[in-house]
Point group: C2
Chain length 345, copies 2
C-alpha cells in the first residue's frame, strides 16, 4: 500500500548523518512520501484543496478541514480544543496539518495509519464535522455538479465519487503543505549565522538533557518509522509534580482508548516540533498556553528536570528556529450549486 | 464624509443611458465609490484582508467575516441563516459581500450607512462573532505584535488600533470584491451572443412585468441613492397568497425594528441581483431554496402575478446572466502570536 521501499531508501540515506554526530539530526526531508495507490497529480491536489476548504462536507455547512487546521495560521486554530458543527467542542488539541505528510501515524493516539485514513475521521465525528456517514459526505459532493465532473476527471471509473476518493484528494493536497527552510534547516546546511547564540545554546541543551530521546529524527518526533507505525511515549511519565494536576494531564488515557491495553495507558504519539512556535496552545489537551511553560512541563514530567529560567528561554529560542516557510496557497473557488443550495438550517 | 459628489457625477453620466431605453439599464459601475475619510491604499487593503479572514476577532476564535461571507463561495455561506460563535444562529440570511461596496446601505434593514459601519456589527453581535465590545476587539488585535506594526504603518498616529480603523481596513478590502464581466455586462457592451434566447426573453419579461420597478439601476437594487440612503420596499406586499405562510414571510418586521415607525413594518432594502444565481437560499429569512421558486414568490407577492413555468425559467436564465467573474484572492498569512495563544476554551 504505502511506499515503504522509498522510506527505507530515505532512512538509509539519513543513517550516516544521524550516526556522524549526536547534534547532527537530519533536516526536514525534501521529498514527501506518497502512497503507491494515491499518486500526486496536479488535478487531484487542486480538487483536494477545494474539498479541504469546503464547509459543505460538514453537517451544518459551517466547518471545513481548514476551520481547525487553518493554513492561514500555520495549519492549526490556536485553540485549546477545536469547535465543530453546532459549536460542539472536541477534547484534544488540533495538531497542525503542516508537515503532517511526513508523520508515520496521525492523531494524538496514532489511530490513523495515513493522511487518507485521518481525513475521514473528522468528517464523521459527531463533535467535529458531524456527518452521519461517509455515504452522506458522498451525497453532498454528488449534489454539486462541478465536483462530479472533477472527480470523474481525477479518478475516472464507474464510481468516481467515493469516501475513499474524497480522502485521497484531501490527503494529496495536504502533502503539499510543507514548511522547509527554517533557520534550523539553514543552520544545518552550513549557515552558522542562522541561529542566535541563545538558540545554539538551546540546541545543545536540547541534546544534552535528553529531549532527543523522544524528539529526535528528521521530524523531531522520534526515530523514523515505517508509515503506519507510531512512536509513542507515556505522558506524563513522572506524576509527582505540580504540573500534572495544574494542567489535568492524567484525565486523558491516550492510546489506551484505541487499544484497551493497560500498557497503552497515557501513551501518546510523540509530537513533531517543526513550527511549534506557531502552534500554541500545547499538549494533547491544549492546556498550556505558552511554549516556555510547555518546555518546563516537559522537562519535569518526562526528564524529571527543573529548568532554570535561562535554560527554558534557550530551549524556546532553539524551538523557535524550527519555524519553516509556510506554503503559498491560492484561494480556491468552490464549485457551486447554481440557483439552489444543499444546506439546511 | 462620503464621496457624494462622485456619486452624483456618476448618476449624471448614467442618466442618458437610463433614459434612452427601458431595457438599457446601466451596467455594473467600473469604479467603486470610496469615502473621502477612508482612501484605498494597497497596505490597508492587505491589512483588511487579514482581518477579514481572522477568526480571532470572534469571542471563540472560530468565526471570521469570511465564515458567513465566504469569498470562496461568492461571498456568502449558502445557509438559510448563518451560524456564529458557539454555533448560535442568526435570524436573517447573510447577504453576499461581493459588490456590497456599490450599495448605498448595508444589512437587510439598511441600518448601516456604509461598509465601515456594517463591519462593526457582526463583531459585537452576540449570535455572530460575539465580542463583548469594540474595545475587546481592539484588545485582541493589540495582543498580536505584527498587527500592531501594520496598523502603525497604515494608520499612524498615537492610537493606530481603534475599532474604527479595524472597520476601515476591512471595508477597504471589501471594496476590492467586485465581480465584473458577467454575460449580461458583455451583452450590454454589444456582445449579443452573450445571452441565450431564453435569457433574452427573461430580460424582456423582467422589464415588461414590472420587476424593474424595484430592481432597476446599475445594481438592480433600485434607483441610485446617495451613500447612506436606502431604497426600501414592503415584502411581502400582497399577503393573500400561499407563499406568505409557507415561507413565513410576515414573521420579520424588517426596518420597523430599526425605526419603530409603523410605516416601516415589513420594509426591507431591495436586494441587488448581481450573482443571485450563486447566493441561494433566498429572501431575508433564507426560506426559499431555489431561484425559480423565489422568482415565483416575488412575482406573486410583489406584482400579484402568477408566472407560467416557461416565464419563471426565462427569468432565471436572465438572472443567471448576472453572474460576474469572482475576484482572484491570494490566501493571506495571518499574523501570529509566537510561543503563545490569545484564545481560550
Amino acid at each position: 500500500m504505502l511506499s515503504v521501499s522509498r522510506w527505507k531508501k530515505w532512512a538509509l540515506l539519513c543513517a550516516p548523518v544521524l550516526a556522524s554526530s549526536a547534534l547532527l539530526w537530519a533536516q526536514m526531508p525534501s521529498q514527501v512520501p506518497v502512497p503507491k495507490d494515491n499518486p500526486q497529480t496536479p488535478a487531484k491536489v487542486e480538487l483536494g484543496k477545494k474539498l479541504y476548504f469546503d464547509p459543505r462536507i460538514s453537517i451544518t455547512g459551517t466547518v471545513s478541514c481548514n476551520s481547525c487546521h487553518n493554513v492561514m495560521t500555520n495549519g492549526t486554530d490556536n485553540r485549546p480544543v477545536s469547535a465543530g458543527a453546532h459549536g460542539k467542542l472536541g477534547d484534544r488539541n488540533s495538531p497542525t496539518v503542516f508537515n503532517a505528510a511526513f508523520r508515520s501515524v496521525q492523531f494524538w493516539d496514532g489511530r490513523a495509519a495515513s493522511l487518507e485514513e485521518q481525513a475521514k475521521g473528522p468528517q464523521t465525528n459527531p463533535v467535529e464535522m458531524g456527518m452521519p456517514s461517509g455515504e452522506a459526505v458522498v451525497g453532498r459532493i454528488e449534489a454539486i455538479p462541478e465536483y462530479r465532473q472533477e472527480f470523474l476527471e481525477v479518478f475516472g471509473g464507474s464510481q468516481p465519487i467515493t469516501f475513499d476518493h474524497i480522502a485521497q484528494a484531501i490527503a494529496s493536497f495536504e502533502r503539499t503543505l510543507i514548511t522547509p527552510n527554517s533557520p534550523y534547516d539553514r543552520y544545518m546546511k552550513g549557515d552558522k549565522s542562522a541561529l542566535s547564540a541563545e538558540a545554539r545554546r538551546g540546541l545543545e541543551l536540547f541534546n544534552s538533557i535528553g529531549c532527543t530521546a523522544c524528539h529526535g529524527g528528521p521530524m523531531f518526533d522520534g526515530p523514523s518509522q515505517p508509515m503506519g507505525t507510531g512512536f509513542y511515549m507515556k505522558f506524563p511519565l513522572n506524576t509527582d509534580n505540580e504540573y500534572v494536576k495544574k494542567y489535568d494531564l492524567l484525565a486523558d488515557t491516550g492510546r489506551y482508548q484505541v487499544t484497551h491495553q493497560e500498557s497503552d495507558q497515557h501513551m501518546f504519539v510523540v509530537q513533531s516540533l517543526w513550527n511549534i512556535e506557531m502552534t500554541a496552545p500545547y499538549f494533547h489537551n491544549g492546556s498550556v498556553k505558552n511554549l516556555e511553560e510547555a518546555v518546563r512541563v516537559m522537562a519535569k514530567t518526562q526528564l524529571d528536570k527543573s529548568l532554570t529560567a535561562g535554560q527554558a528561554k534557550d530551549l524556546v529560542a532553539f524551538l523557535d528556529s524550527l519555524t519553516g516557510v509556510s506554503p503559498h496557497i491560492g484561494m480556491p473557488r468552490l464549485p457551486e450549486t447554481p440557483n439552489t443550495t444543499i444546506l439546511e438550517k
